[in-house]
Amino acid sequence: MTSTGTAAHPEPLSLARGEVKLDPPTHFGRWRSEAPLRRITLWNGETAWVALSYEAVRAVFKDSARFRSEPATPGFPTINQADSASKGAALLPMLDPPAHTALREAVLREFIVKRIESLRPEAARIVAGLLDAMASAAGPADPVDLITALAAPVPATFTCLLLGVPLADAAFFAECLDVRFTPTSATEAVYGADDRLRRYFRDLVTARAAHPRDDLSSRLVTGSVLTGKLSAEDAAALLHVLLIGGFDTTKQMIALSTVTLLGHRPQLAELMAAPALWRGAVQELLRYISVAQVERRACVADTEVCGQLIRAGEGVLVLLGSANRDPDVFGDPDRFDIHRRDLPHVAFGHGIHQCLGQPVARMLLSVTLPALFARFPRLSLAVPVEELRFRDDRSLIGVSELPVRTRP
C-alpha cells in the first residue's frame, strides 16, 4: 500500500495518541514530513484531505471564500457519528459570510480584550473560592479530582456570570454538552441535547427582552434583537455557541496545563518567581496542548494549497495541533518552552472564524494557574501521567478526570 496522498484507498484518519499523551498523534508528524496535505479515509468511508503543516492550515483557514464552514456544503467532512448528527445546527462557526459577519459583529464588543481583562477580579474571586473548597475538602493525602474541583467550575461559573444566567444552570449545560460531544451519541440524543439548549436560549432571549438586566444576553437582545438587526432565533443560537465555545475548551486547558506544568517543574518555578512570564507561558501552553485538534471545511472552487490541488466538493480537516508542532515554524516543536519567540500558534484557528472568546480563555488561564500553584506549592499528580485516560477520539482532546494531591 502506498502512503502518498493519491492512493485509491487512503489510510483512515485516527486521532489516537502515542505514548506521550500531550503530543499530537505520532502519525501526524510522519504525514506532515511527507506532504503538507494528504488524503485520508473518514469514519464513514468517505475521503477528505487533512491539512497538516502550519502553512497549509493557515492557508485553508484564511481562504474562507473557497473553504466554507457551512455543513450543508457538498463534501463537508465529519469526524464521527455525533459530529454528523449535528450538521443541521446553524451555529456561528458553521456559517459563512454574510450571515457569519452579522452575528459575530453583534457580540464583538463583549470580547474586547480590555473589557474581559476588567473582569479579572471576578475570575480571581471564583478561583479563590474553589481553591478554598479544595483545601478544606481534602485530607493531606486524599486525591482530589482537579476537573471537578477547579477545571470545570472555573469556565462554567464564569460563562454563567458573563451570560447572566443562574450558576445552577451549569449542570444542565454540562449534561447537554456531554451528550452532544460524545462521539458515539445516537443521532436522536444529539438532536435532543441541541434542542434542549436551543429552547433554553430561546427562553432566555424572551425573558431578557421583557426584563433587560446588566449582562451580555440583555445587551445582545436590546442592541440587536429589539433593533431588528438579528432575529430572536439568531440571538439564541449566538448565546448557545458562546456557551459551547468556552465550556469544555477552557476546562481541558486548565487541566492539561496543570499536567504540563507539573511535568516541567523548573519552568513552573521560574513562573512562580517571575509572574510577568505567565503571559508568554499561557501562549506556549495553548500551542503545546492545542485542545481543539480538528476544524472542518469544504472546498467550493478548485484551489491550490501549498502546491496541492484541492477540488471543489472535497472536504478538508484542518489539524491545528499538527500545525502547532510544525518544525519549519517552531524550533524543537515537541519541547515545552515558556520563552519561545516563534511565530504565533494557531490554537484558536486563523481567518475570520478565529476564536471569539480567546481573551476569556487567556484571562481565565492566567488567573487560575498562578493561583493554583501559589495555594498548593507541593501539588502533584496522584497517578502517573501515563495512566491518565485521554479522550483522544474527539475533536477536543482532554482527560475525563485528573486526580491530584494538594500535599505530598
Binding site: F61, K62, R104, L108, R109, F111, I112, V113, K114, Q283, R341, L343, P344, F348, G349, H350, G351, I352, Q354, C355, L356, Q358, P359, R362
Partner: protein, 65 residues
Amino acid sequence: MSARQLGTDRETCIGSGNCVQWAPAVFDQDDDGRVALVPGGDPDAAAADVERAVAGCPVSALWWE
C-alpha cells in the same frame, strides 16, 4: 531608526484582539473592538512583539514595512 511604517486596516479587522495580546504596548482596540494604535506607542521598542502581532493577525489587517 527604522523607517518602517505600521499600517492597520479597520475595514478588514475582525476584532480578534490578537495584536493586543501579542503587542499590548503598541496595539489597542477601539469601542467597536477594531484595531487602534496606542498613542505614543513605539513599534521599534517592541519590534519582536509587533512582528508576531502582524504575522498572527488572522485576517492580515496589519502591516509593518
